[in-house]
Amino acid sequence: MIRKQIIGIYRFYRDGFREMTWGRILWAIILIKLFVMFFILKLFFFPSFLKGMNTEEKQEYVGTELINRMY
């Protein structure tokens, strides 16, 4: 029963994508955009500033920053 439903859902999406006309270009835009965002921008331009620190180090870093910035 569940297997049948999964196959039904799979066919629904498969046929939907196959029958697309004007939607193809939109999917191309979506995929290119997501690639640029996650594999170029996020990886090379937007690393987490606190990356590489464990929780205690992050607490210490932000604590020191927020105290020192008062002066």
Partner: protein, 496 residues
């Protein structure tokens, strides 16, 4: 130290956030607005069985799909920036910001991805009613996503439901319901979502008017205009009502924002509302801000100098006093952390008490000059008037479209078709003016009274932020050109 944070870094980080938010908000309101219009059209199809409404709904769905595809995930770039450019802020807000954004992400993915697929692929594969439910649930999914984003934004404007933990340096959520249903969040949600319906309605009317100008798709255009004007008029009236509520809340929780919106330097009782120049409505500002024509509304200088009576009966502190207490809070935080590190629990307890007493002013400790507490008056004054002025215009515009539609004269009023076409950009301008008021008006705060931008920003080189600013500028402009190009092509093709 503050000197080590390049001020241009703060400005570039702010500019980058503003740029991406502005572009993102070109797509979102149209998604929210078109979802309602096409939902109503499909409902008319299912209830009447008239194929005309099916064709009509399918056409607007196509434009919805283009906008959805180009706009989807553009908001994620804002989240990238939190971790890179605003790392102190990201850590400081803790799970309060993370929880709503996580819920938004999961909901957006599952609800929208599932039902959008049924909406586009399921016309001949699922029942009419199931398809209709999917169409409405697509819109509902987008609206619920907006809810969580607006909850996060509202918390920054009116932080509630949390406690600051000086050991972890994070704000911890103690009352989820207070965060999720804060009065500011509820009003902001209604105001923002309903104003987005105006954008959707204006878009549908404008495109339909273009067909009338070109003497094409007459029946389709007139029917679309009738549905969109009904949605638009309802939305414009509710937006006006929630705008009034929002102004009242701003007066309570962000009085400086209200004062700069009005360019009010010296406040008082019986305050008039400035329309423009010397044109004023007597006692209206007092009425809007306090729901009492005799109510006291503080001006910019009053807020900076303090000494006036607050609604709770206490006396307002001056900016200098708040800065002093903010510095005491930060010094107490330093003492607490030092005492904890050395294992001196008594000293830690004393420091914690001082911190708690002064925590409401924590962010003021980073303010070097009281002038920094005043947002840009000119920009706020005019952005507010553009938003309200256009809001009133939309009520009249939608009413006129509906009236002429009822009188069956809409087709013949050529000048109105041109006005309708130009109302599309006006709807976007009004929507963005609203965000300008909300976001410029809360400067210098990332979190009201708790964390100003100069404390929230990462210690980064401005050059790296400049680079990504221009990458985004190019990327979003390309996306926008693609959206407009594909939409224009689809509109020119007409209803199939």
């Amino acid at each position: 130290m503050l000197e080590t944070i390049d001020l241009s870094m703060i400005n570039w980080a702010r500019a980058q956030f503003a740029l991406t938010a502005i572009y993102h908000w070109l797509f979102v309101p149209l998604t929210l607005g078109l979802a309602v219009v096409m939902g109503i059209m499909e409902t008319l199809y299912v209830t009447s069985g008239n194929e005309f409404w099916k064709r009509t709904a399918k056409f607007w769905m196509k434009l919805f799909g283009i906008n959805f595809a180009i706009g989807v995930a553009t908001g994620l770039i804002l989240e990238f920036q939190f971790g890179t450019n605003w790392s102190n802020y990201s850590w400081f807000v803790g799970d309060i910001f993370g929880a709503p954004l996580a819920i938004e992400g999961i909901l957006a993915f599952f609800m929208e991805a599932t039902f959008v697929a049924v909406m586009f692929f399921g016309w001949n594969k699922v029942s009419k009613k199931f398809h209709l439910a999917s169409t409405w649930l697509t819109g509902l999914g987008a609206t619920i996503s907006a809810w969580w984003i607006l909850v996060a934004n509202s918390w920054m404007q009116y932080p509630v439901g949390m406690e600051f933990n000086p050991e972890t340096m994070r704000n911890e959520m103690v009352d989820f319901m207070a965060v999720a249903f804060s009065p500011v969040a509820v009003t902001k949600f209604l105001h923002t979502v309903l104003s987005s319906w105006i954008v959707g309605a204006a878009f549908v009317i404008g495109v339909s008017a273009w067909y009338l100008i070109r003497k094409r798709e007459k029946e389709f255009a007139l029917a679309s205009m009738r549905v969109a004007a009904s949605v638009g008029l309802f939305a414009a009236l509710v937006t006006a009502a929630t705008g009034d509520k929002s102004a009242y809340q701003v007066a309570q929780v962000q009085p400086m924002k209200l004062a700069v919106m009005e360019a009010l330097y010296e406040g008082g009782t019986h305050e008039p509302l400035t329309v423009v120049g010397t044109l004023k409505i007597p006692e209206m500002l007092s009425l809007l801000a306090t729901h009492d024509t005799e109510g006291y509304v503080p001006g910019i200088n009053n807020i900076l100098n303090g000494g006036y009576r607050l609604p709770d009966g206490t006396t307002a502190l001056s900016a200098d006093e708040k800065i002093k207490r903010g510095k005491e809070a930060i010094a107490a935080l330093a003492d607490f952390r030092k005492a904890k590190a050395s294992g001196d629990e008594t000293a830690a307890e004393t420091a914690l008490q001082t911190l708690d007493e002064n925590m409401p002013y924590f962010g003021y400790g980073y303010i070097k000059d009281t002038k920094a507490l005043v947002p840009h008056v000119g920009m706020m004054f005019w952005a507010f008037r553009v938003m309200v002025g256009l809001g009133m215009y939309f009520i009249a515009f939608f009413f006129l479209i509906l009236f002429l539609s009822w009188k069956k004269r809409l087709e013949r009023v050529n000048w109105l078709h041109h006005v309708a076409l130009w109302t599309i950009p006006l709807a976007y301008i009004a929507s963005h003016a609203g965000w300008l008021v909300a976001e410029v008006g809360r400067q210098p705060w990332t979190i009201q009274d708790m964390l100003p931008v100069n404390a929230a920003v990462s210690k980064l080189d401005a050059g790296s932020v400049q680079t990504t600013f221009f990458i985004f500028l190019v990327m979003f402009t390309v996306l926008l050109i693609a959206e407009i190009g594909i939409m224009v092509k689809t509109i020119r093709k007409g209803v199939e």
